[in-house]
């Protein structure tokens, strides 16, 4: 029964998730850079597509995006796509098995022994939920990119970066606010059998 293990989760050092968020935000910043200079925002050189109306720049913007003409393999091999894929897989790891997720292991093995013991322990469920939010945002970006939507990669990476950075630097948890909003519209948190 997952319900019984969920009810009494072992406390974790709250600095661990923030350490992970700091590394994640650096990775995501690199992802934004790679996706900005890559296929996602690339425009076809003028004259490449003779039928694109050159005079009306805004109107032809969609038509002159290189990604619309790129093959699926070309989209998947874009460095920005691969970088976001790596970050998304790390998010997935953090959701599926938070205890073995790489940044948590690095933190416990190399950082925590050098710090003072934590003054208090934290519920591990909020950071796990936040990893799920990060996974969702990056997965949407990856899917839209594969579907040929320009700018999907840098925008998704930038959104995930903002959340990770706010968590690392300010300790703000956007996922937690999102949880409450989702709960208020009735999507989560209603049908728990052990509701008290």
């Amino acid at each position: 029964m997952p319900e019984t293990t969920d009810a009494t989760p072992r406390g974790i050092d709250p600095r661990g998730p923030r350490f992970g968020a700091a590394i994640t935000s650096v990775l995501l910043l690199g992802t934004v850079l790679l996706s900005l200079v890559g296929l996602s925002t690339a425009r076809a050189p003028i004259g490449w597509f003779a039928y694109a109306p050159l005079a009306d720049d805004v109107y032809s913007a969609a038509a002159t995006c290189t990604i619309a003409y790129a093959s699926l393999a070309e989209r998947a091999l874009d460095p920005g796509f691969l970088a976001l894929l790596v970050v998304a897989l790390l998010f997935l790891w953090g959701v599926v098995s938070p205890r073995t997720a790489p940044w948590g292991v690095v933190y416990r093995r190399f950082v925590q022994p050098r710090l003072a013991p934590p003054t208090d322990l934290e519920d591990p469920r909020p950071p796990r939920f936040a990893q799920g939010v990060g996974l969702f945002v990056s997965a949407v970006g990856l899917a839209l990119h594969l579907a040929g939507v320009p700018w999907a990669l840098p925008i998704a990476a930038a959104a995930a970066f903002m959340a990770a950075f706010l968590n690392a630097v300010f300790g703000l948890c956007l996922g937690c606010m999102l949880y409450l909003l989702l709960q208020r519209v009735g999507l989560v948190g209603r049908a728990r059998p052990n509701a008290v």
Binding site: V32, V37, A42, M177, L180, Q183, R190
Partner: protein
């Protein structure tokens, strides 16, 4: 194709905006709001037996709230140090009706109630401990004068 210089400018802007948002939210969260309807809170509805004699620190949390336990500790110690001040922590995880009633969009949210249960002050996010102390002193001062 965005060239590298433009991309770096975008990155810098992204960093600046994120820092600005974080700084603003942190600044906003420490500050109390006082323009709130004078509502009297019924403790029974929240699952509590009674309110504090002079003031109540009414905290709203959820299970998936990373900063709620820390706020819980600091508010509980504040309430412990003062006579007649009670700290209530209401878990909204299974009570969307309460979240809706108090229009809570983030946790923790803390309401400071006076001795009658009227909402005096509201903090969204992590409240500044010194401001909470000031608010409590204001309330306890009021009751001694009255």
């Amino acid at each position: 194709m965005v060239n590298v210089v433009d991309a770096l400018i975008v990155l810098t802007a992204l960093l600046a905006v994120t820092l600005g948002v974080g700084g603003f939210v942190q600044w906003r969260q420490g500050r109390p709001q006082r323009q709130i309807p004078n509502e009297v809170v019924d403790p029974q509805r929240l699952g509590a037996e009674r309110l504090g004699d002079t003031a109540t620190l009414l905290q709203f949390s959820t299970e998936l709230c990373a900063r709620c336990p820390g706020v819980h500790r600091s508010l509980a110690s504040l309430a412990e140090d003062r006579e007649g001040v009670l700290h209530l922590d209401v878990d909204l995880t299974h009570r969307p009706d309460i979240a809706k009633h108090f229009q809570i969009l983030q946790t923790p949210t803390t309401l400071i109630l006076d001795g009658d249960g009227t909402i005096q002050t509201r903090f969204g996010g992590v409240p500044n401990k010194h401001v909470v102390e000031l608010e409590l002193s204001r309330l306890t001062g009021e009751t001694t004068r009255a």
